[in-house]
């Protein structure tokens, strides 16, 4: 029974990784941009929520609603005025710029908040659990997983049921022809990054509620996110959730065997999937 419990906990942990990864997947899917600052933006989001909670005395679940539009605006501006200038045939400029942005963010957070670990204030909800048979499930992991599902459903609805979603997909396919349809690719990219930052904020909420964070943990979140995206298949949102679950299950199973193996087991699972399916589990047909 302990293995069932381990796997269920791993699946729920996968929800957190899927949240880390969904924004990365969205941005890569639309503009083929690998944002190396993604993990640091999640950490920045957690600090923003912490500031709002501290200054306004709000619950983190209310503060996140205020943080979302702020992060959207930040993402929109970041893409419009910085990252759009790096896009082109050469993949190196966006990598270099986002790598630089990652360092800038880490140092700015270090300057502003010191290296001390922080955590969003928890209440009874964050430590509550429900009993399902013989397995005890934390309410917070369940909420995280449900949020990941809702985010992916929401993104799929946006992509496949709205004119903005059509514009996202058309611009992703062919930005030059999209501009002949009256679409401004630069604006589409800015909106996409803004939406990715809303997801980043949701991920930041659960990161801050479930664990300690400090200015230097961004790159590790990026690695988990990146692995989830690659396992799922670049640009596939449901694939990203599956990728997150695979890493989560591998980590909890690894930890059950030996606590030192937790992180390593996730990376090994990533490598095994890459060996078997180099393009991920659900690659897009026309990439």
């Amino acid at each position: 029974m302990i293995w069932v419990d381990t796997i269920v906990q791993g699946i729920l942990l996968g929800g957190l990784y899927a949240l880390f990864a969904a924004g990365l997947s969205l941005v890569f899917g639309i503009m083929r941009l690998v944002n190396l600052a993604h993990g640091d933006l999640i950490v920045m989001g957690a600090y923003l929520i912490l500031v709002l909670v501290t200054l306004l005395g709000l619950s983190p679940f209310i503060a996140v609603l205020i943080a979302m539009p702020i992060m959207f605006a930040l993402g929109w501006g970041l893409q419009k005025f910085l990252l759009n200038r790096t896009l082109g045939d050469d993949i190196l400029p966006p990598l270099l710029v986002t790598f630089g942005l990652s360092i800038v963010l880490q140092n700015a957070l270090l300057e502003g908040f010191t290296a001390d670990s922080q955590r969003l204030p928890t209440d009874a909800l964050t430590t509550a659990s429900v009993q399902v048979g013989t397995i005890s499930l934390g309410v917070m992991p369940l909420l995280t997983f449900a949020s990941a599902i809702l985010v992916i459903i929401g993104l799929n609805q946006l992509f496949y049921r709205t004119s903005l979603g059509r514009a996202f997909r058309a611009t992703s396919d062919d930005p030059v022809t999209a501009s002949l349809m009256g679409i401004k690719p630069a604006n589409i990219f800015a909106v996409a990054t803004g939406i990715a930052m809303i997801i980043v904020t949701i991920a930041a909420l659960y990161l801050g509620l479930r664990s300690n964070f400090d200015p230097n943990i961004g790159p590790a979140r990026l690695i988990y996110a990146f692995e989830a995206v690659i396992i799922g298949g670049l640009g596939s949102l449901w694939g990203t959730l599956v990728g997150g679950i695979i890493i989560g299950v591998a980590q909890t199973v690894g930890a059950a065997i030996n606590p030192e193996w937790q992180i390593l087991a996730g990376h090994i699972a990533f490598l095994v999937v890459l060996l078997i399916r180099p393009r991920g589990l659900f690659p897009r047909a026309h990439d």
Binding site: R166, A170, D173, L180, I183
Partner: protein, 235 residues
Amino acid sequence: MALLHTDGLTAHYGDFQALFGVDITLDQSEVVAIIGANGAGKTTLMRSISGVLRNAPGMVRFDGANIGGQPADEIMAQGVAMVPEGRKLFPSLSVEENLLIGTYGRKTGGHWNLKTVYDLFPILRERRNNPGTALSGGQQQMVAIGRALMSNPRVLLCDEISLGLAPVVIKDIYKAVPAIKAAGASLIVVEQDIGQAMAVADRVYCMMEGRVTLSGTPDTLSREAIHNAYFGAAA
């Protein structure tokens, strides 16, 4: 006053100059054909007018206003739509979504909508849920034309719409031209098939090596003059 005209239009790809002072005019409710051999500059002319290839301001005027130098999305928003060479359908969109993308960010209104486009090309109604790129070449061309029409353009630029298609399919596609014209659009049609161009156009321009070498109405242009303009006088 011409609806659209180019005034000494030049175009470059890096150091290579592709157009040398091209002057063409398109009047209201007119169909103008641009003919010429491969490399004559026809597609470059279309790309320059549509804004895909940016040029200096003042070289292209539409409805009295300068559109030269503007980006493609702004030119399209003003009423100049293009059917690009090679169809360029969006592979991740279905047929219907490819059509609907032509209306992005615009208020609905005008003659062309999903119903009228499907009436023009009934086969697309049957295939509306298929991926656009899963269709035959001729059907893809119909989607590309329909997609451009969905924006209710005043000028439709058609770049090599017969390229790679069987004669019977080309005939079907060109049958749509009168209906498009009747709905109020003027057309510039780039065509390598001289006979097809002569049949559909009110006026014809022939291009060679980035220059207009001949222009006139189909009934005033002799076979020999077209041959000379198309291949060069020495040919």
